[in-house]
């Protein structure tokens, strides 16, 4: 059980380009699974390598349970990293690969052998000890890489895009396996991914990074329900944005006024955000406006409508049966459920989010 604290962590590779990781503050809870999420090149892997001790930070500090570990060598940190491309040592057998960490710790051979067996059972590949890495499939190599890291009982387990090289089916299996092992062993785990679904499914808490800067560090559902910026909302799947003016819990927009009790910002210029799934078609009453159906798609499990309201175009995702109720060109009432509206600051898209003072 180890709590990892990053404070002001910065990495600059090249003075001419912006920092790869920029003043990152993060409190990674002991025994929990934390995801570092972001598009490629956002500094997630760099952050992970700094925690593992494989890269030296330009500035800032990393501490385990409150004690700085910057001066501790990577082999003594107990923070084991599993790389994206597995990196099983090709000239060693599977048993030697898994036992590598114990051999380095001068554990005797008998004990290594029995613990390797335990690990192979844990990752559900018993009987593989004498094979060579190139005889294994990608998914199997991934499990061996995981076993090789777990056998040394690390304080912190660092998984770098561990699942991105696997096909969808294997990925689901590995997610379950990782989650199970992590919960059983209670290892503080940091998981790097660019896939927001994976982060949400696996992690207890998600840290979203754009361009080396922390955007939001929250429970997974918060990224859908209470994102801090339009960028974050967009990264977590399509959302309708309607700009306007926010005053006393009411959002005044070009297409009408909407009651919106949930807001990130105070009175002033703001943006109303509502997920396509939260738009109700054919329902009138409070928070309802009139719109025209532009087009629709039937997708089996759901239906997708493009609706024009005044000069704004929005998207609505509904139950599949609704395609029978509305035809293209129909004028229908469109309702925004007040509880599902989230009011955001008026940052234009692509503009970096303001630094969060509470951070």
């Amino acid at each position: 059980m180890t709590q990892v604290t990053l404070s002001g962590l910065t990495k600059i590779f090249d003075q001419k380009s912006p920092p790869a990781v920029d003043r990152l503050d993060l409190e990674i809870e002991s025994g929990k699974l934390t995801a570092l999420l972001g598009p490629s090149g956002c500094g997630k892997t760099t952050t992970m390598k700094m925690i593992a001790g494989l890269l030296r930070p330009t500035a800032g500090d990393i501490s385990f349970d409150g004690a700085s570990i910057l001066s501790i060598k990577p082999e003594e940190r107990g923070a084991v990293m599993v790389f994206q491309n597995y990196l099983l040592f090709p000239y060693m057998s599977i048993a030697d690969n898994i036992g590598f960490g114990l051999k380095m710790r001068k554990v005797n051979k008998g004990e290594i052998r029995s613990r390797v067996q335990d690990m192979l059972d844990l990752v559900q590949l018993p009987g593989f000890e004498d094979r060579k890495p190139n005889q294994l499939s990608g998914g199997q190599q991934q499990r061996i890489a995981l076993a090789r890291a777990l056998i040394v009982e690390p304080n912190v387990l660092l998984l770098d895009e561990s699942l991105s090289n696997l096909d969808a089916h294997l990925r689901d299996e590995m997610r379950v396996l990782i989650r199970r092992i992590q919960t059983e062993m209670g290892i503080t785990t940091v998981f790097v991914t660019h896939d927001q679904e994976e982060a949400v499914v696996l992690a207890d808490k998600v840290a979203l990074l754009f361009d080396g800067r922390l955007q939001q560090f929250d429970m997974p559902d918060a990224f859908y329900e209470t994102p801090k910026t339009q960028e974050i909302a967009t990264f977590f799947g399509g959302t309708n944005f309607i700009p306007g003016e926010y005053q006393n819990g009411v959002m005044t927009t070009g297409i009408g006024d909407f009651t919106a009790p949930h807001s990130l910002v105070g009175d002033g210029a703001a943006v109303l955000s509502i997920r396509p799934e939260a738009v109700d078609l054919g329902v009138s009453g409070e928070n309802s406006v009139s719109g025209t159906v532009l087009s629709h798609v039937y997708a089996g499990r759901y239906a997708r409508f493009q609706i024009r309201i005044g000069d704004v175009e929005i998207e609505a995702v509904t139950e599949p049966g609704q395609v029978k109720l509305f035809a293209d060109g129909d004028n229908i009432p469109v309702k925004f459920d007040p509880d599902k509206i989230w009011v955001l600051g008026p940052h234009a898209m692509g503009q970096p989010a303001a630094a969060d003072p509470t951070g």
Binding site: E75, M81, P90, Y91, F100, M104
Partner: protein
């Protein structure tokens, strides 16, 4: 070997210039090089003994070793070393258990090349060794004038290592034992 690693793994300013400098001994005629070196060696007492001859043999062989190793490292993933460190291996253990096995075929091939080139050096040995350090080529040359029979026998001995090296290195170059990242491709 470290020079090969630097050239194969990293891109840095002036890399081309360093490459050319390393290759220079192959491009410049050996005689021109050795005449300059000889005056220095005489001054430092390295002329006419085995140490001086060994040193001067580095001149034509180093470029080959460096080139072979840079080819090996070009196909090598340093992350293997980081992985080993992360799993608890110190610097030396990482070299021993990870780096060396991975580049070993390259080291063997480079060593064989080096041996062959050194084996067939005549001018360098003669000039720096002052005729006092007798290597096989020098012996062969001496006999070639007086005793053709012995010269013939010696030339068979002289050819043997070349054939052996060819057989050995073809095994390593075939890629069967290429450990990390297809060293057979160099």
């Amino acid at each position: 070997m470290p020079a090969g690693r630097a050239l194969g793994l990293y891109n840095f300013a002036g890399k081309r210039i360093v490459e050319i400098m390393i290759l220079a001994p192959i491009i410049v005629p050996g005689l021109a090089v050795v005449l300059g070196i000889d005056t220095m060696f005489i001054r430092y007492g390295l002329s006419g003994n085995i140490i001086g001859v060994s040193l001067v043999h580095l001149v034509p062989t180093l470029p080959y070793m460096t080139l072979v190793m840079s080819g090996v490292y070009a196909n090598y993933d340093v992350d293997y070393e980081l992985q080993a460190r992360s799993l608890g291996a110190g610097r030396w253990a990482t070299q021993r258990y990870v780096t060396l096995p991975a580049v070993f075929p390259g080291v063997v091939v480079g060593a064989l090349f080096t041996f062959l080139i050194s084996w067939s050096q005549y001018v360098l040995t003669l000039l720096i060794g002052n005729g006092q350090v007798e290597t096989l080529p020098i012996l062969l040359f001496n006999f070639a004038r007086s005793e053709p029979a012995i010269a013939g026998a010696l030339s068979v001995v002289f050819v043997l290592p070349g054939i052996l090296v060819l057989l050995l290195s073809s095994k390593y170059l075939s890629g069967d034992s290429a450990a990390v990242g297809g060293i057979g491709n160099i």
